[in-house]
Symmetry: C2
């Protein structure tokens, strides 16, 4: 183990895409854990789409990332120094350990991960963690689906979207996913079992929605915003439910210009409800317990794309914003068995 | 009683404002009631803001008004010919009798109005009818207010808005109304008892919201849409509730360009719910019974503006769309005691 660690400090706030120049990258001494603390080596940095809005000056669902501090990051790590019996050396832990190689954290800030031998460690930082929780609770608690209803999912090939599609199928829904490009759509059809997939980059979304949702749209699980949101709202049924999970089309500073069709919410008595996964954290173990058997039996599939090295984290964010990634976007900060 | 009646048929669909030229005005023989029918003389035509969208080719919460048919209208009338003991001659009735002087309607399509001697007949077609029901149910059932919370109301000096403000005060809320012009704002402060009124035509709405809602905004009763909706969304609290009653800024064909701040719904877990007064019709008698004593004791005030003659109905619609009316906009088709 080295005695130096690299840490990324936010220097300035991006206007559009993220560049390495927005950060100060410093080499520092590996810190010593104090009482009640452990030293962890960070392995995976999870890149949620909303990470981009943490960097803005305005607070989002989290306080704005302060300038001059280590960039916040959702991580999976391994304990390397510990005197605490609750987290012995070698334990894998989830936490918010930031964009750095080594982090000292209080034991209470870390959650040990019980890794099933047939499931990769990384899955415990997305499908069997926040992404699975987001998909399951957003769909069941906000959309309140009824068997036979029609669900549309945007960013459907993304980490949350693809899980939402598959959970929707398990709940007996007609599921139509909207994604960018024929490859993503084919994956949704072949692997996620959706009833229809729409390539918003190459197809007439409105016409395809008419074709694939002959009984109208009862639920929208919305990750994107922008003009597609209007096209879906145009077609909602009475008492439709729209779960607003995120609006990734706006995160790089673009104004959200959708909303032309808000009148549909009035006419159809529609409900649009924003939600944040953190509110469902008390249900994490319940939901992971429900999803883990589906991951094991192969009935809940996922894709992940791992870029190697923290210096690729800005690129990872931009790939996600542009929709170039496939499934969950991760950065591998250090090897699992380092 | 004359044997001729004037009726307004929709000839073409307006793009922007309504003009007399959009109608065929015909003089016709007064129809004879058949079995189970009565003949009514129409007195008041109520002009709701949403009447404008009935005229569009697209269905709204009602089917699109067909071309070549008598324009739909919400009316108070008096029975002039009847063999039915349920509706003797002289009974005042509410119904959908359209833009015409005389209408033949089935007894079941008409609702007799029990007029309190100290309340004008016209009030039974707005405050003690759909407008009161809209305000009361939208506020209590959609916004679910809790004493001490802050409510913002747009089109606050309008018929529904001003009732919502006053009911909000009765429920112990901090109420801030947004209206166009100093006169409307002064009326809201002096007569409706709001805690603050914002003149969106002459004041900086964002700055005034900051000043008048020091604890943020818990509820919005939305009648307008457009940029003001964004300014309110910018300031919503956690778990805010937005009752979407209407979006009058869009009715004359303008696109709804608001929605920039939908991300606030995500971050604050906000709920936006469209609703339609017709869904609350089963509660009409309950709510009228609750509001009538407040009208009698003067603690629930309203304004109405009555234009005389059906030929002023297009003007009435345009005054409402431009915000030039004061309170409820009505057209007097014929005198109460004709």
């Amino acid at each position: 183990m080295t005695d130096k660690t690299t840490a990324w400090y936010l220097r300035s706030r991006p206007q559009g895409e993220v560049e390495p120049g927005h950060f100060d990258v410093r080499s520092e001494a590996v810190p010593e854990p104090g009482p009640g603390q452990v030293l962890v080596r960070n392995i995976y940095l999870m890149i949620p789409a909303s990470m981009r809005i943490w960097m803005n000056a305005e607070d989002s669902y989290l306080p704005a990332q302060p300038l001059g501090e280590v960039m916040r990051g959702i991580t999976t790590s391994v304990v390397e120094r510990s005197d605490d019996p609750r987290l012995p050396v070698g334990t894998y832990v989830n936490g918010m350990c930031g964009w750095r190689e080594y982090t000292v954290a209080a034991v209470e800030e870390l959650t040990p991960v019980r890794v099933h031998p047939d499931i990769p460690l990384s899955a415990y930082r997305h499908v069997l963690d926040f992404q699975g929780l987001t998909a399951y609770c957003g769909l069941t608690d906000v959309c309140k689906p009824v068997e036979g209803e029609t669900l549309v999912v945007t960013a459907a090939a993304g980490s949350v979207g693809s899980l939402t599609c598959q959970i929707g199928k398990k709940l007996g829904l007609r599921v139509v996913g909207i994604a960018g490009g024929p490859e993503k759509c084919e994956w949704l059809r072949a692997e996620c079992g959706v009833d229809g997939a729409i390539d918003y980059k190459n197809e007439d979304v409105g016409a395809r929605l008419d074709e694939l949702c002959p009984d109208g749209i009862d639920m929208l699980f919305e990750n994107v915003g922008g003009p597609v949101l209007d096209l879906v709202l145009d077609r909602i049924n009475l008492n439709a439910r729209i779960a607003l999970c995120g609006l990734v089309s706006t995160y790089n500073g673009g104004e959200q210009t959708a909303g032309r069709s808000l009148m549909k919410l009035v006419n159809q008595r529609g409900l649009m409800q924003g939600f944040i996964v953190m509110d469902y954290l008390p249900r994490l173990q319940e939901v992971v317990g429900l999803l883990e058997p589906w991951v094991l039996d192969g009935s809940l599939v996922y894709q992940e794309e791992i870029l190697d090295g923290l210096d690729r984290a800005p690129e990872a964010m931009n790939r996600l914003a542009r929709g170039e990634n496939k499934g969950m976007q991760l950065v591998r900060i250090s090897p699992e068995n380092g």
